[in-house]
Protein backbone atom coordinates (compact mmCIF):
# COMPACT_ATOMS: atom_id res chain seq x y z
CA UNK A 1 0.00 0.00 0.00
CA UNK A 2 2.80 2.36 0.98
CA UNK A 3 4.66 1.79 -2.25
CA UNK A 4 1.60 2.87 -4.24
CA UNK A 5 1.00 5.83 -1.94
CA UNK A 6 4.53 7.14 -2.28
CA UNK A 7 4.86 6.54 -6.01
CA UNK A 8 4.80 10.25 -6.80
CA UNK A 9 6.85 11.47 -9.72
CA UNK A 10 5.94 8.42 -11.77
CA UNK A 11 3.11 10.23 -13.51
CA UNK A 12 3.41 12.02 -16.85
CA UNK A 13 5.86 14.89 -17.12
CA UNK A 14 4.36 18.03 -18.58
CA UNK A 15 6.51 20.36 -20.61
CA UNK A 16 5.29 23.47 -18.86
CA UNK A 17 7.33 25.42 -16.34
CA UNK A 18 6.47 24.41 -12.75
CA UNK A 19 5.17 27.95 -12.13
CA UNK A 20 2.61 27.54 -14.95
CA UNK A 21 1.53 24.15 -13.63
CA UNK A 22 1.13 25.64 -10.12
CA UNK A 23 -0.64 28.85 -11.04
CA UNK A 24 -3.24 27.30 -13.37
CA UNK A 25 -5.03 25.14 -10.72
CA UNK A 26 -4.73 28.06 -8.28
CA UNK A 27 -6.40 30.31 -10.83
CA UNK A 28 -9.27 27.81 -11.19
CA UNK A 29 -9.64 27.77 -7.40
CA UNK A 30 -9.52 31.56 -7.18
CA UNK A 31 -12.14 32.00 -9.92
CA UNK A 32 -14.40 29.37 -8.34
CA UNK A 33 -14.32 31.25 -5.06
CA UNK A 34 -14.58 34.72 -6.59
CA UNK A 35 -17.52 34.00 -8.93
CA UNK A 36 -21.01 32.88 -8.01
CA UNK A 37 -22.89 33.24 -11.30
CA UNK A 38 -24.20 29.75 -12.24
CA UNK A 39 -23.26 30.05 -15.92
CA UNK A 40 -19.71 31.09 -15.10
CA UNK A 41 -19.32 28.33 -12.53
CA UNK A 42 -20.75 25.65 -14.85
CA UNK A 43 -18.32 26.76 -17.53
CA UNK A 44 -15.46 26.61 -15.01
CA UNK A 45 -16.54 23.12 -13.95
CA UNK A 46 -16.49 21.90 -17.55
CA UNK A 47 -13.03 23.40 -18.08
CA UNK A 48 -11.75 21.94 -14.78
CA UNK A 49 -12.93 18.41 -15.58
CA UNK A 50 -11.39 18.64 -19.04
CA UNK A 51 -8.13 19.91 -17.53
CA UNK A 52 -8.13 17.06 -15.00
CA UNK A 53 -8.62 14.59 -17.83
CA UNK A 54 -5.78 16.16 -19.84
CA UNK A 55 -3.60 16.21 -16.73
CA UNK A 56 -4.17 12.50 -16.10
CA UNK A 57 -5.89 13.02 -12.76
CA UNK A 58 -9.36 11.68 -13.55
CA UNK A 59 -9.00 8.60 -11.32
CA UNK A 60 -7.64 10.75 -8.45
CA UNK A 61 -10.61 13.08 -8.89
CA UNK A 62 -12.94 10.07 -8.74
CA UNK A 63 -11.31 8.93 -5.49
CA UNK A 64 -11.69 12.42 -3.98
CA UNK A 65 -15.37 12.47 -4.97
CA UNK A 66 -15.92 9.11 -3.29
CA UNK A 67 -14.88 10.71 0.02
CA UNK A 68 -16.31 14.17 -0.63
CA UNK A 69 -19.91 13.28 -1.58
CA UNK A 70 -21.21 13.44 2.04
CA UNK A 71 -19.87 16.99 2.25
CA UNK A 72 -21.58 17.91 -1.03
CA UNK A 73 -24.83 16.42 0.23
CA UNK A 74 -24.48 18.35 3.48
CA UNK A 75 -24.06 21.63 1.58
CA UNK A 76 -27.40 21.00 -0.15
CA UNK A 77 -29.26 19.80 2.96
CA UNK A 78 -28.06 22.57 5.28
CA UNK A 79 -28.68 25.38 2.81
CA UNK A 80 -32.14 24.11 1.95
CA UNK A 81 -33.15 23.49 5.59
CA UNK A 82 -31.74 26.62 7.17
CA UNK A 83 -32.13 29.39 4.62
CA UNK A 84 -35.47 31.16 4.98
CA UNK A 85 -34.64 34.22 2.89
CA UNK A 86 -35.91 32.92 -0.47
CA UNK A 87 -39.16 34.38 -1.83
CA UNK A 88 -40.22 31.59 -4.25
CA UNK A 89 -41.62 28.93 -1.91
CA UNK A 90 -41.83 25.45 -3.42
CA UNK A 91 -42.90 23.49 -0.34
CA UNK A 92 -43.67 24.21 3.29
CA UNK A 93 -42.64 21.46 5.67
CA UNK A 94 -43.16 20.65 9.33
CA UNK A 95 -41.76 22.46 12.33
CA UNK A 96 -38.39 21.00 13.27
CA UNK A 97 -36.58 21.28 16.57
CA UNK A 98 -34.14 24.23 16.55
CA UNK A 99 -34.69 24.82 12.82
CA UNK A 100 -38.26 26.11 12.99
CA UNK A 101 -40.62 25.79 10.03
CA UNK A 102 -39.03 24.28 6.95
CA UNK A 103 -39.49 26.34 3.79
CA UNK A 104 -38.10 24.85 0.62
CA UNK A 105 -37.43 27.74 -1.73
CA UNK A 106 -36.20 27.85 -5.29
CA UNK A 107 -33.50 30.35 -4.30
CA UNK A 108 -32.07 28.09 -1.59
CA UNK A 109 -32.17 25.10 -3.93
CA UNK A 110 -30.31 26.95 -6.67
CA UNK A 111 -27.81 28.46 -4.22
CA UNK A 112 -26.96 25.04 -2.78
CA UNK A 113 -26.58 23.60 -6.30
CA UNK A 114 -24.24 26.42 -7.27
CA UNK A 115 -22.20 25.90 -4.09
CA UNK A 116 -21.85 22.20 -4.95
CA UNK A 117 -20.55 23.21 -8.38
CA UNK A 118 -18.10 25.57 -6.68
CA UNK A 119 -16.86 22.78 -4.41
CA UNK A 120 -16.50 20.41 -7.39
CA UNK A 121 -14.30 22.94 -9.22
CA UNK A 122 -12.14 23.36 -6.11
CA UNK A 123 -11.77 19.59 -5.74
CA UNK A 124 -10.94 19.23 -9.44
CA UNK A 125 -8.28 21.96 -9.14
CA UNK A 126 -6.70 20.05 -6.24
CA UNK A 127 -6.73 16.79 -8.22
CA UNK A 128 -5.20 18.54 -11.22
CA UNK A 129 -2.41 20.09 -9.15
CA UNK A 130 -1.36 16.72 -7.74
CA UNK A 131 -1.74 14.94 -11.09
CA UNK A 132 0.31 17.17 -13.34
CA UNK A 133 3.00 18.47 -11.02
CA UNK A 134 5.25 16.17 -9.02
CA UNK A 135 6.05 17.18 -5.39
CA UNK A 136 9.71 17.50 -6.40
CA UNK A 137 8.90 20.17 -8.94
CA UNK A 138 6.42 22.04 -6.75
CA UNK A 139 8.77 22.06 -3.76
CA UNK A 140 11.64 23.08 -6.05
CA UNK A 141 9.56 26.08 -7.02
CA UNK A 142 8.84 26.84 -3.36
CA UNK A 143 12.59 26.70 -2.74
CA UNK A 144 13.03 29.87 -4.77
CA UNK A 145 10.90 31.95 -2.42
CA UNK A 146 11.16 30.12 0.91
CA UNK A 147 14.43 28.17 0.92
CA UNK A 148 14.46 26.88 4.47
CA UNK A 149 10.80 25.86 4.45
CA UNK A 150 11.30 24.11 1.11
CA UNK A 151 14.34 22.21 2.43
CA UNK A 152 12.31 21.11 5.46
CA UNK A 153 9.41 19.98 3.27
CA UNK A 154 11.71 18.19 0.81
CA UNK A 155 13.43 16.33 3.64
CA UNK A 156 10.03 15.29 4.93
CA UNK A 157 8.99 13.97 1.51
CA UNK A 158 12.17 11.87 1.47
CA UNK A 159 11.84 10.66 5.06
CA UNK A 160 8.14 9.75 5.00
CA UNK A 161 8.44 6.84 2.48
CA UNK A 162 11.58 5.63 4.24
CA UNK A 163 9.86 5.62 7.63
CA UNK A 164 6.74 4.00 6.15
CA UNK A 165 8.92 1.19 4.85
CA UNK A 166 10.60 0.91 8.24
CA UNK A 167 7.19 0.71 9.92
CA UNK A 168 6.33 -2.25 7.69
CA UNK A 169 9.54 -3.99 8.76
CA UNK A 170 8.84 -3.23 12.42
CA UNK A 171 5.33 -4.64 11.92
CA UNK A 172 6.80 -7.85 10.44
CA UNK A 173 9.19 -8.19 13.39
CA UNK A 174 6.36 -7.65 15.85
CA UNK A 175 4.24 -10.26 14.06
CA UNK A 176 7.02 -12.84 14.28
CA UNK A 177 7.08 -12.18 18.03
CA UNK A 178 3.38 -12.96 18.26
CA UNK A 179 1.91 -9.44 18.30
CA UNK A 180 -1.44 -9.42 16.52
CA UNK A 181 -1.70 -6.05 14.80
CA UNK A 182 -4.93 -6.70 12.92
CA UNK A 183 -6.85 -8.84 15.37
CA UNK A 184 -9.04 -8.01 18.33
CA UNK A 185 -11.05 -4.90 19.07
CA UNK A 186 -10.04 -1.35 18.15
CA UNK A 187 -8.39 -0.69 21.55
CA UNK A 188 -6.27 -3.87 21.28
CA UNK A 189 -5.26 -3.03 17.72
CA UNK A 190 -4.32 0.53 18.68
CA UNK A 191 -2.35 -0.66 21.72
CA UNK A 192 -0.55 -3.23 19.54
CA UNK A 193 0.70 -0.42 17.31
CA UNK A 194 2.23 1.52 20.22
CA UNK A 195 5.70 -0.14 20.00
CA UNK A 196 5.76 0.62 16.27
CA UNK A 197 5.35 4.35 16.88
CA UNK A 198 7.96 4.33 19.67
CA UNK A 199 10.58 2.57 17.54
CA UNK A 200 9.80 4.85 14.60
CA UNK A 201 10.21 8.00 16.69
CA UNK A 202 13.59 6.98 18.08
CA UNK A 203 14.79 5.80 14.69
CA UNK A 204 13.65 9.04 13.00
CA UNK A 205 15.30 11.25 15.60
CA UNK A 206 18.57 9.32 15.51
CA UNK A 207 18.46 9.48 11.73
CA UNK A 208 17.89 13.23 11.82
CA UNK A 209 21.30 13.69 13.48
CA UNK A 210 22.98 11.90 10.59
CA UNK A 211 21.00 13.93 8.09
CA UNK A 212 22.08 17.18 9.81
CA UNK A 213 25.72 16.11 9.76
CA UNK A 214 25.44 15.21 6.07
CA UNK A 215 23.91 18.63 5.39
CA UNK A 216 26.73 20.40 7.19
CA UNK A 217 29.32 18.28 5.40
CA UNK A 218 27.82 19.53 2.13
CA UNK A 219 28.13 23.13 3.28
CA UNK A 220 24.58 23.84 4.51
CA UNK A 221 24.39 27.28 6.09
CA UNK A 222 27.91 28.24 4.97
CA UNK A 223 27.18 31.42 3.05
CA UNK A 224 25.31 31.92 -0.19
CA UNK A 225 23.41 28.94 -1.49
CA UNK A 226 23.96 27.72 -5.04
CA UNK A 227 21.08 26.33 -7.01
CA UNK A 228 20.33 24.45 -10.19
CA UNK A 229 17.03 24.09 -11.94
CA UNK A 230 15.84 22.11 -14.91
CA UNK A 231 12.75 24.27 -15.27
CA UNK A 232 12.72 26.15 -18.57
CA UNK A 233 10.33 28.76 -19.88
CA UNK A 234 9.00 28.00 -23.33
CA UNK A 235 6.70 29.64 -25.85
CA UNK A 236 4.02 27.27 -24.63
CA UNK A 237 4.31 28.89 -21.18
CA UNK A 238 4.03 32.34 -22.74
CA UNK A 239 0.77 31.31 -24.41
CA UNK A 240 -0.60 29.81 -21.20
CA UNK A 241 0.28 32.90 -19.17
CA UNK A 242 -1.25 35.19 -21.79
CA UNK A 243 -4.48 33.17 -21.66
CA UNK A 244 -4.51 33.17 -17.83
CA UNK A 245 -3.86 36.92 -17.67
CA UNK A 246 -6.65 37.53 -20.16
CA UNK A 247 -8.95 35.30 -18.05
CA UNK A 248 -8.22 37.36 -14.94
CA UNK A 249 -8.78 40.59 -16.85
CA UNK A 250 -12.09 39.27 -18.23
CA UNK A 251 -13.22 38.24 -14.73
CA UNK A 252 -12.49 41.71 -13.37
CA UNK A 253 -14.20 43.27 -16.39
CA UNK A 254 -17.23 40.99 -15.92
CA UNK A 255 -17.53 41.98 -12.28
CA UNK A 256 -17.12 45.65 -13.17
CA UNK A 257 -19.77 45.62 -15.89
CA UNK A 258 -22.18 43.43 -13.93
CA UNK A 259 -22.07 40.41 -16.32
CA UNK A 260 -21.02 38.05 -13.55
CA UNK A 261 -23.33 39.58 -10.96
CA UNK A 262 -25.91 37.18 -9.61
CA UNK A 263 -28.14 37.71 -6.59
CA UNK A 264 -29.80 34.67 -5.00
CA UNK A 265 -31.79 36.21 -2.16
CA UNK A 266 -34.53 37.19 -1.68
CA UNK A 267 -35.31 36.69 -5.38
CA UNK A 268 -33.06 35.50 -8.20
CA UNK A 269 -31.60 38.45 -10.14
CA UNK A 270 -29.49 37.86 -13.20
CA UNK A 271 -31.10 34.62 -14.27
CA UNK A 272 -30.82 33.22 -16.89
CA UNK A 273 -29.73 35.35 -19.86
CA UNK A 274 -28.74 38.59 -18.17
CA UNK A 275 -26.42 40.95 -20.03
CA UNK A 276 -23.31 39.52 -21.55
CA UNK A 277 -23.05 36.67 -19.01
CA UNK A 278 -23.21 33.89 -21.58
CA UNK A 279 -20.68 35.49 -23.95
CA UNK A 280 -18.30 36.42 -21.12
CA UNK A 281 -18.54 32.91 -19.62
CA UNK A 282 -17.91 31.33 -23.02
CA UNK A 283 -14.85 33.51 -23.66
CA UNK A 284 -13.58 32.83 -20.13
CA UNK A 285 -13.98 29.09 -20.65
CA UNK A 286 -12.16 29.25 -24.00
CA UNK A 287 -9.27 31.20 -22.49
CA UNK A 288 -8.96 28.76 -19.60
CA UNK A 289 -8.97 25.83 -22.01
CA UNK A 290 -5.71 27.03 -23.57
CA UNK A 291 -3.24 25.77 -20.88
CA UNK A 292 -4.60 22.19 -20.66
CA UNK A 293 -5.10 21.91 -24.42
CA UNK A 294 -1.51 22.94 -25.15
CA UNK A 295 -0.09 20.80 -22.34
CA UNK A 296 2.36 18.35 -23.82
CA UNK A 297 3.58 15.25 -22.07
CA UNK A 298 7.10 14.11 -22.62
CA UNK A 299 9.54 11.44 -21.58
CA UNK A 300 11.78 12.36 -18.66
Amino acid sequence: MNRKLFSFGSGPFFRYHAATLTVYPMLLLFLAVALQHPIFLLMLLAVSVLAVWRGGGLSAFGTILRYAWPLLLLIVVLNVLVSKDGATVLWIGPNLFLLGKIRLTMEALLFSGVMVVRMLIVLAAGALFVAWLSPDRSLGLLGRIARRSAVTAMMTTRLAPYLAEQSEQIGDVLRTRGVRLDQGGPVQRIAARKPMVSVLLISALEGSWQVAEAMEARGYGMGRRTSYTRERWSRRDGLAWAAMTAAVWLTVQSAWSGWSEFVFYPRLIGWPFAGGAWIAALVLGTLLLVPPLFAKRSRR
Binding site: F8, V82, D85, L99, S149, T156, K194, G207, V211
Partner: protein, 239 residues
Protein backbone atom coordinates in the same frame (compact mmCIF):
# COMPACT_ATOMS: atom_id res chain seq x y z
CA UNK B 1 14.87 44.52 13.17
CA UNK B 2 14.37 43.73 9.49
CA UNK B 3 12.28 40.72 10.48
CA UNK B 4 9.97 42.85 12.60
CA UNK B 5 9.68 45.41 9.81
CA UNK B 6 8.52 42.73 7.34
CA UNK B 7 5.98 41.38 9.85
CA UNK B 8 4.71 44.88 10.63
CA UNK B 9 4.40 45.64 6.91
CA UNK B 10 2.39 42.45 6.30
CA UNK B 11 0.06 43.19 9.23
CA UNK B 12 -0.38 46.78 8.00
CA UNK B 13 -1.18 45.48 4.51
CA UNK B 14 -3.81 43.13 5.96
CA UNK B 15 -5.44 45.89 7.98
CA UNK B 16 -5.45 48.21 4.95
CA UNK B 17 -7.01 45.54 2.73
CA UNK B 18 -9.63 44.69 5.37
CA UNK B 19 -10.47 48.41 5.63
CA UNK B 20 -10.77 48.70 1.83
CA UNK B 21 -12.95 45.56 1.69
CA UNK B 22 -15.36 46.93 4.27
CA UNK B 23 -15.41 50.32 2.53
CA UNK B 24 -16.43 48.74 -0.76
CA UNK B 25 -18.82 46.16 0.72
CA UNK B 26 -20.26 47.85 3.80
CA UNK B 27 -23.56 45.94 3.69
CA UNK B 28 -22.07 42.55 4.42
CA UNK B 29 -21.85 41.45 0.77
CA UNK B 30 -18.17 40.74 1.19
CA UNK B 31 -17.01 37.50 -0.46
CA UNK B 32 -16.04 35.71 2.72
CA UNK B 33 -14.73 32.62 0.94
CA UNK B 34 -12.16 34.72 -0.88
CA UNK B 35 -11.42 37.00 2.07
CA UNK B 36 -10.89 34.10 4.49
CA UNK B 37 -8.61 32.31 2.03
CA UNK B 38 -6.60 35.49 1.56
CA UNK B 39 -6.29 36.18 5.29
CA UNK B 40 -5.37 32.55 5.92
CA UNK B 41 -2.59 32.60 3.34
CA UNK B 42 -1.33 35.87 4.78
CA UNK B 43 -1.28 34.40 8.29
CA UNK B 44 0.58 31.31 7.10
CA UNK B 45 2.97 33.58 5.23
CA UNK B 46 3.78 35.43 8.45
CA UNK B 47 4.61 32.20 10.27
CA UNK B 48 6.77 31.01 7.37
CA UNK B 49 8.51 34.39 7.20
CA UNK B 50 9.49 34.03 10.84
CA UNK B 51 10.94 30.60 10.14
CA UNK B 52 12.80 31.82 7.06
CA UNK B 53 14.36 34.73 8.94
CA UNK B 54 15.23 32.83 12.11
CA UNK B 55 18.64 31.36 12.83
CA UNK B 56 17.69 27.70 12.38
CA UNK B 57 20.48 25.15 12.52
CA UNK B 58 20.74 22.11 10.29
CA UNK B 59 19.98 19.91 13.31
CA UNK B 60 16.77 21.78 14.07
CA UNK B 61 15.71 21.55 10.42
CA UNK B 62 16.40 17.81 10.41
CA UNK B 63 14.51 17.25 13.67
CA UNK B 64 11.49 19.21 12.37
CA UNK B 65 11.49 17.22 9.12
CA UNK B 66 11.85 13.91 11.00
CA UNK B 67 8.99 14.67 13.39
CA UNK B 68 6.78 15.80 10.51
CA UNK B 69 7.60 12.53 8.72
CA UNK B 70 6.69 10.52 11.86
CA UNK B 71 3.41 12.44 12.05
CA UNK B 72 2.69 11.54 8.39
CA UNK B 73 3.55 7.88 8.88
CA UNK B 74 1.26 7.95 11.94
CA UNK B 75 -1.57 8.80 9.56
CA UNK B 76 -0.73 5.71 7.48
CA UNK B 77 -0.19 3.32 10.41
CA UNK B 78 -3.59 4.14 11.82
CA UNK B 79 -5.36 4.26 8.45
CA UNK B 80 -7.89 1.56 9.50
CA UNK B 81 -9.22 3.91 12.21
CA UNK B 82 -11.01 6.93 10.66
CA UNK B 83 -9.90 10.20 12.28
CA UNK B 84 -8.14 8.27 15.01
CA UNK B 85 -4.46 9.09 14.36
CA UNK B 86 -1.47 10.07 16.49
CA UNK B 87 -0.62 12.99 14.15
CA UNK B 88 -2.05 15.78 16.31
CA UNK B 89 -0.44 14.29 19.40
CA UNK B 90 2.99 14.17 17.73
CA UNK B 91 2.64 17.79 16.57
CA UNK B 92 1.52 18.76 20.07
CA UNK B 93 4.47 17.04 21.69
CA UNK B 94 6.91 18.51 19.15
CA UNK B 95 5.64 22.00 19.93
CA UNK B 96 5.68 21.34 23.66
CA UNK B 97 9.31 20.21 23.70
CA UNK B 98 10.93 22.21 20.89
CA UNK B 99 8.93 25.45 21.18
CA UNK B 100 6.25 27.30 19.17
CA UNK B 101 8.34 27.84 16.02
CA UNK B 102 9.33 24.19 15.65
CA UNK B 103 5.80 23.13 16.64
CA UNK B 104 4.24 25.26 13.92
CA UNK B 105 6.66 23.96 11.31
CA UNK B 106 6.11 20.30 12.26
CA UNK B 107 2.32 20.76 12.02
CA UNK B 108 2.30 22.81 8.83
CA UNK B 109 4.88 20.61 7.09
CA UNK B 110 3.06 17.42 8.09
CA UNK B 111 -0.16 18.81 6.56
CA UNK B 112 1.49 20.10 3.38
CA UNK B 113 3.59 17.01 2.67
CA UNK B 114 1.03 14.39 3.68
CA UNK B 115 -1.45 15.98 1.29
CA UNK B 116 1.10 15.60 -1.50
CA UNK B 117 0.51 11.89 -1.01
CA UNK B 118 -3.13 11.83 0.10
CA UNK B 119 -4.42 14.63 -2.18
CA UNK B 120 -4.30 18.43 -2.12
CA UNK B 121 -7.41 20.55 -1.87
CA UNK B 122 -8.88 23.61 -0.23
CA UNK B 123 -8.44 21.83 3.09
CA UNK B 124 -4.61 21.93 2.86
CA UNK B 125 -4.00 25.54 4.04
CA UNK B 126 -6.62 25.11 6.78
CA UNK B 127 -4.99 21.89 7.92
CA UNK B 128 -1.62 23.63 7.87
CA UNK B 129 -3.01 26.40 10.03
CA UNK B 130 -4.84 24.08 12.43
CA UNK B 131 -1.91 21.72 13.00
CA UNK B 132 0.48 24.66 13.04
CA UNK B 133 -1.57 26.29 15.80
CA UNK B 134 -1.58 23.03 17.77
CA UNK B 135 2.22 23.19 17.72
CA UNK B 136 2.36 26.91 18.57
CA UNK B 137 -0.02 26.69 21.54
CA UNK B 138 1.69 23.55 22.80
CA UNK B 139 4.95 25.50 22.63
CA UNK B 140 3.45 28.21 24.81
CA UNK B 141 2.21 25.58 27.25
CA UNK B 142 5.70 24.10 27.29
CA UNK B 143 7.16 27.45 28.33
CA UNK B 144 4.80 27.54 31.29
CA UNK B 145 4.85 23.92 32.46
CA UNK B 146 8.33 22.84 31.38
CA UNK B 147 9.37 19.30 32.28
CA UNK B 148 6.83 18.99 35.11
CA UNK B 149 3.93 18.33 32.72
CA UNK B 150 1.84 15.18 33.26
CA UNK B 151 0.22 12.92 30.69
CA UNK B 152 -3.21 14.03 31.94
CA UNK B 153 -2.41 17.68 31.26
CA UNK B 154 -1.36 16.89 27.69
CA UNK B 155 -4.47 14.70 27.33
CA UNK B 156 -6.66 17.65 28.38
CA UNK B 157 -4.84 19.91 25.94
CA UNK B 158 -5.29 17.32 23.17
CA UNK B 159 -8.99 16.98 24.03
CA UNK B 160 -9.56 20.70 23.50
CA UNK B 161 -7.58 20.68 20.24
CA UNK B 162 -9.52 17.66 18.97
CA UNK B 163 -12.60 19.89 18.76
CA UNK B 164 -10.84 23.16 17.87
CA UNK B 165 -9.14 21.44 14.94
CA UNK B 166 -12.50 20.34 13.53
CA UNK B 167 -14.02 23.79 13.97
CA UNK B 168 -11.11 25.43 12.16
CA UNK B 169 -11.43 22.91 9.33
CA UNK B 170 -15.18 23.59 9.09
CA UNK B 171 -14.66 27.33 8.76
CA UNK B 172 -13.91 27.20 5.05
CA UNK B 173 -16.93 25.03 4.23
CA UNK B 174 -19.11 27.36 6.27
CA UNK B 175 -17.73 30.59 4.82
CA UNK B 176 -17.71 29.46 1.19
CA UNK B 177 -20.86 27.35 0.80
CA UNK B 178 -23.42 28.42 3.42
CA UNK B 179 -26.04 31.14 3.44
CA UNK B 180 -26.81 33.01 5.61
CA UNK B 181 -23.60 33.19 7.63
CA UNK B 182 -25.15 33.12 11.08
CA UNK B 183 -24.85 31.12 14.29
CA UNK B 184 -27.41 28.48 13.18
CA UNK B 185 -25.51 27.53 10.00
CA UNK B 186 -22.23 27.67 11.91
CA UNK B 187 -23.24 25.22 14.61
CA UNK B 188 -25.06 22.97 12.15
CA UNK B 189 -21.84 22.72 10.12
CA UNK B 190 -19.97 21.80 13.29
CA UNK B 191 -22.64 19.32 14.44
CA UNK B 192 -22.15 17.47 11.16
CA UNK B 193 -18.49 16.88 11.98
CA UNK B 194 -19.08 16.07 15.65
CA UNK B 195 -18.50 12.27 15.36
CA UNK B 196 -15.17 12.93 13.63
CA UNK B 197 -14.21 15.57 16.20
CA UNK B 198 -15.04 13.22 19.08
CA UNK B 199 -12.88 10.49 17.48
CA UNK B 200 -10.06 13.02 16.98
CA UNK B 201 -10.26 14.25 20.60
CA UNK B 202 -10.45 10.68 21.93
CA UNK B 203 -7.36 9.77 19.89
CA UNK B 204 -5.44 12.72 21.32
CA UNK B 205 -6.40 11.75 24.86
CA UNK B 206 -5.59 8.08 24.37
CA UNK B 207 -2.24 8.71 22.70
CA UNK B 208 -1.28 11.28 25.35
CA UNK B 209 -2.04 8.79 28.11
CA UNK B 210 -0.37 5.88 26.32
CA UNK B 211 2.72 7.56 24.89
CA UNK B 212 3.70 10.60 26.99
CA UNK B 213 5.61 8.58 29.57
CA UNK B 214 7.82 7.09 26.84
CA UNK B 215 7.92 9.92 24.29
CA UNK B 216 8.46 12.97 26.48
CA UNK B 217 11.82 11.84 27.97
CA UNK B 218 13.03 10.85 24.48
CA UNK B 219 12.21 14.24 23.02
CA UNK B 220 13.60 16.11 26.03
CA UNK B 221 16.85 14.21 25.64
CA UNK B 222 17.00 15.23 21.98
CA UNK B 223 16.29 18.83 22.91
CA UNK B 224 19.26 18.76 25.27
CA UNK B 225 21.39 17.32 22.48
CA UNK B 226 20.12 20.02 20.14
CA UNK B 227 21.11 22.84 22.47
CA UNK B 228 24.47 21.40 23.45
CA UNK B 229 27.37 23.43 22.08
CA UNK B 230 30.77 21.87 21.67
CA UNK B 231 33.52 24.28 22.73
CA UNK B 232 36.90 24.00 21.14
CA UNK B 233 39.81 23.70 23.57
CA UNK B 234 42.31 26.46 22.92
CA UNK B 235 45.83 25.21 22.36
CA UNK B 236 48.97 27.20 23.20
CA UNK B 237 49.45 28.25 19.55
CA UNK B 238 45.96 29.65 19.27
CA UNK B 239 46.24 31.54 22.53
Amino acid sequence: MKRRLYSALLILLTVALAFLAYTYWPDGDLNWALTSLFLLLLGLGLFYLRYERAAVTSKETAVIASLAAVAIVGRILFAPFPNFKPTTYIVLLAGYVFGPRAGFMVGATAALVSNLFFGQGPWTPWQMLAWGLVGVTAGWLGRVRGERVTAWELAGFGLIWGFLFGWIMNLWTWLSTMYPLNFTTWWLTNVRSLPFDIAHAAANVLFALLLTKTFLPILLRFRRKLTTTTLEVLTDEKR
